[in-house]
């Protein structure tokens, strides 16, 4: 049923072999072939630009006012690449291995190896585009280390790596727009995939300024529309991030894989009240120097600086002496939740732990004194603190400033309060080795697909995957499909398939507007988020998931009877845009719970309380669950699951341990 089309041959030769034998399209024919790209983040912008360079007729779409706004821009820490510039033993194989292990042995070997293989090309390409990566005094590129690995392979541009990479891709895209190979549609949202005989032939979009629906034909359609973390209402995603394009594709026949795999990032600024609209991440790099703790006494109301050292519980150092504060994201998040649930949380909400820089400030201060040829024992405490703060400011200044803006507290003086938050979704549309979904001619790239991160993504790997898919994978694999498309005439948008798809979109919008209920879209979204976070969040169990499914069905029913959308259809109407997206989240949420219920094991970001070791660690069941769970949409609340078995030919899966 599911054919991943993984090329034969040894792991390191698969991609070379594929590139050597895939079909090509000659330049004269490329000009006749139209490719639609939805979304202009790292995956979408890089794909649209590269396909434009190759000579295809490209149409690109984004819902923001400019392609440069896509949420890839918010990535802070960095991008991994197996360059081995540090001579510390890195290689394609190491990057491949770390990613497979980090994903808790739930990703596909062939895809991950290809990702590692092209990672070095990404850095070269970005440098050539003028991406100002951090450099050493010798003028060469700088690297830093990131969670869960033993080499330094992360390239970065201060705390704004995503921004710089996206602007590189955006500039390449704007260049193609000026050359006429790409037509850009800003403030347009894709609302339907048009298919004929199981093949994607175009999309229906809505102009978000005028409300007008448009039909677009494409020989191939590429969805690069990001993740669905906003199903939880509160997440580190942008306000507009949504599942709509991927969900329309799912309902048009594309299978959805591993929807329950969600990454909860351990270091985010905690919720401060009911008004909260989104959560802000504090880079993983902060765990390099910060120490995480809670008071040893339950419900301790003293200020953090008044709690003496011996009355603090540095629980990560206590539980995981080998990795300490640098355990992977899933482990750190669960440990914070465990302490807060047990009543040791801090702050007014009691849903937070401390991330403390006092020790780091002292340590760096003493080093500075030593650098000046003096004995730290002779220096005053104040002097050490001043010097130490200077060092911390240079390393993490922009993050500390951001924390202060949001909370009004000075993190140099008092420990930061942090709590885990939804950050990334590893699940997504199922794709084969060529990134094609189960619908012919419909591709999915970047976070929107499921392919490379298994059950948990390592830091600095999302940027790598988005650009790998867009710059280096899709230009080959889409060609292999389009080579056969040259025999087919473009389908006019007056075709009945377009007619029917547009009618479907139109009917749905009219239905939404005509409900004229009493409750705002936002209120439904918040309620859905609460169900998801409480019952399909950091820890899940059978009873909770079963309840969640019923509650979501009920909430969905209520939504379609009582939602109130102000304004008109044919005008700029953000509430209407949001209503469509929340309606889709109300369907996706149910599937996530079904998938989480079905996967009766703990792996990576998916923690089933029934499946843990005696020490409370995640326990996998490889014999039963070493597969991709892939869901076919059959009708409301009705899905069929197919398994793609994961065969580990090179890596031998083991239970992860960080003790």
């Amino acid at each position: 049923m599911l054919d991943a089309k993984i090329p034969s041959g040894s792991l390191e030769n698969k991609w070379k072999e594929y590139k050597g034998h895939c079909k090509l399209v000659n330049p004269a024919n490329k000009r006749k072939l139209e490719v639609i790209v939805v979304g202009t983040g790292l995956a979408g912008a890089s794909a649209a630009a590269t396909l434009g360079e190759l000579g295809y007729k490209v149409k690109a779409f984004c819902f923001q006012d400019s392609p440069r706004r896509a949420h890839s821009i918010a990535a802070q820490g960095g991008i991994n690449a197996a360059k081995n510039y540090q001579n510390d033993g890195d290689s394609d194989y190491r990057l491949f291995y770390d990613t497979i292990k980090g994903g808790d042995y739930r990703s596909r070997e062939a895809n991950v190896y290809r990702l590692a293989e092209v990672s070095a090309n990404i850095i070269d390409q970005c440098v050539a585009q003028g991406v100002p990566f951090a450099r050493e005094y010798g003028g060469l590129l700088s690297n830093r280390s990131f969670g869960g690995v033993q080499v330094q392979r992360t390239f970065y541009a201060a705390g704004q790596t995503g921004q710089q990479l996206l602007i590189g891709a955006y500039q390449a895209l704007e260049r193609q727009i000026s050359l006429g190979t790409v037509t850009m549609y800003n403030r347009h949202e894709m609302l339907e995939v048009v298919t004929e005989n199981g093949k994607a032939i175009g999309i229906i979009t809505r102009d978000l300024i005028t409300g007008k629906l448009d039909r677009h034909f494409g020989n191939a359609v590429l969805l690069c529309t990001g993740g669905y973390g906003n199903v939880f209402y509160l997440s580190t995603n942008a306000m507009g991030s949504n599942v709509t394009a991927a969900w329309k594709a799912h309902k048009a026949g594309a299978f959805f894989a591993n929807p329950c795999y969600t990454q909860i990032h351990p270091t985010c600024i905690p919720v401060s009240g009911d008004h909260q609209s989104k959560l802000t991440l504090m880079s993983e790099s902060l765990r390099n120097d910060g120490r995480i703790w809670v008071p040893k006494k339950k419900g301790d109301t003293r200020k953090p600086n008044e709690i003496p050292h011996e009355e603090r519980d540095y629980y990560l150092e206590r539980r995981y002496p080998a990795f300490g504060n640098l355990v992977p994201r899933d482990v750190a998040s669960r440990a914070a939740k465990e302490r807060c649930d047990a009543g040791y949380g801090v702050g007014s909400s009691k849903q937070a732990v401390y991330l403390d820089y006092a020790s780091a400030i002292e340590r760096y201060g003493k080093i500075e004194i030593t650098k000046h040829g003096r004995n730290p024992e002779e220096a005053s405490k104040e002097e050490i603190t001043v010097l130490g703060k200077g060092v911390v400011k240079e390393k993490y200044g922009n993050l500390f400033d951001m924390y202060e803006k949001i909370t009004g507290e000075n993190p140099y003086e008092t420990p930061m309060r942090i709590y885990p938050a939804v950050h990334y979704t590893m699940g997504g549309l199922w794709v084969d080795y060529e990134l094609m979904t189960t619908v012919k001619g419909l591709y999915c790239l970047g976070e929107a697909n499921f392919s490379d991160h298994g059950a948990n993504r390592l830091g600095a790997s999302a940027l790598m995957q988005g650009l790998a898919d867009g710059y280096f994978v899709i230009p080959y694999t889409v060609g292999n499909y389009l080579a056969d498309e040259i025999y087919n005439k473009p389908i006019p948008t007056s075709h009945e398939a377009f007619e029917a798809a547009e009618k479907k979109v139109n009917d749905r919008i009219n239905t939404l507007m005509n409900i004229k209920g009493k409750t705002s879209v936002e209120k439904f979204h918040k309620r859905l988020g609460k169900i998801m976070w409480d019952k399909c969040g950091m820890a899940r169990n059978e009873k909770g998931l079963q309840e969640a499914i019923v509650e979501i069905q009920q909430l969905r029913k209520e939504f379609w009877q009582d939602v109130r959308i102000p304004g008109e259809i044919n005008e700029f109407n953000p509430e209407l845009d949001k209503a469509g997206r929340v309606a889709d989240f109300l369907e996706l949420g149910e599937l996530m719970c079904i998938d989480a219920l079905n996967r009766n094991e703990s792996c990576g970001g998916h923690f089933r309380e029934e499946s843990q070791t005696e020490e409370g660690e995640a326990l996998r069941h490889d014999a039963e669950f070493m597969h991709v769970a892939t869901w076919e949409f059959k009708g409301e609340s009705n899905w069929t699951m197919y398994k793609e078995a994961l065969n580990y030919e090179v890596v031998k899966p083991t239970q992860r341990s960080y003790k």
């Binding site: 050539a128 005094y137 609209s277 509430e575």
Partner: protein, 253 residues
Amino acid sequence: MEHYNMNLNLKVWRQKNSKTKGEFKMYRVENISSEMSFLEMFDVLNERLIEEGDDPIAFDHDCREGICGMCSMYIDGKPHGPWQGNTTCQLHMRAFKDGDTIVVEPWRANSFPVIKDLVVDRTAFDRIIQAGGYISVNTGNAVDGNALPINKNMADASFAAAMCIGCGACVAACKNSSAMLFLSAKVSHLALLPQGEPERKSRVLDMVAQMDKEGFGSCTNTGACEATCPKEISISYIAKLNNEYLCAGLTTE
């Protein structure tokens, strides 16, 4: 940090679309927490407007962490409000006190027409980039990333310019609606890197020509742009832009 609640008066620009005339409307908001962000205060107000059967206030926003450049409110006469080096989405309500009246307008510039309420059309910026704000290198042509060492100071200066988020606050702050800070940031980002060298002259000439075509005003070195830039991009980049433009103009064949 002490938390407090406040009641405020908002004087907000309302405009149905680009074809109609706009006007200020007054709104009273109550029990606003000092911990809220400025946009969350607007969320609260919009929820109420929806409940009351009114049209909510349209505004642009997306990442809400100060990096995407989408949010754009002109608050009490200053783009992005009173805080230094800050975007609207990162402005928090503790910047205000009980009883304040806050005036909120869209970016005002002929080149940024209003779409609705506080939402404006900034596609002119995209077209300026299209005129040459890139390095012409197709995917697959790159040499090794370390083949060409770049002086760290130059790389850092290039990065400081590349931090521009394209929000348009510089234009909104300028009495001439000049886009020179935005343009200078892009020209400097690329001119400071060896990879940008081959197109250095044509880039600056073409981008300036496009800026003029879009109807942005001239720079008179007032410095309002630098003072309001959320990424604190230095006005010295405008001096660099002028230098680049002059040299290119004198030496281009």
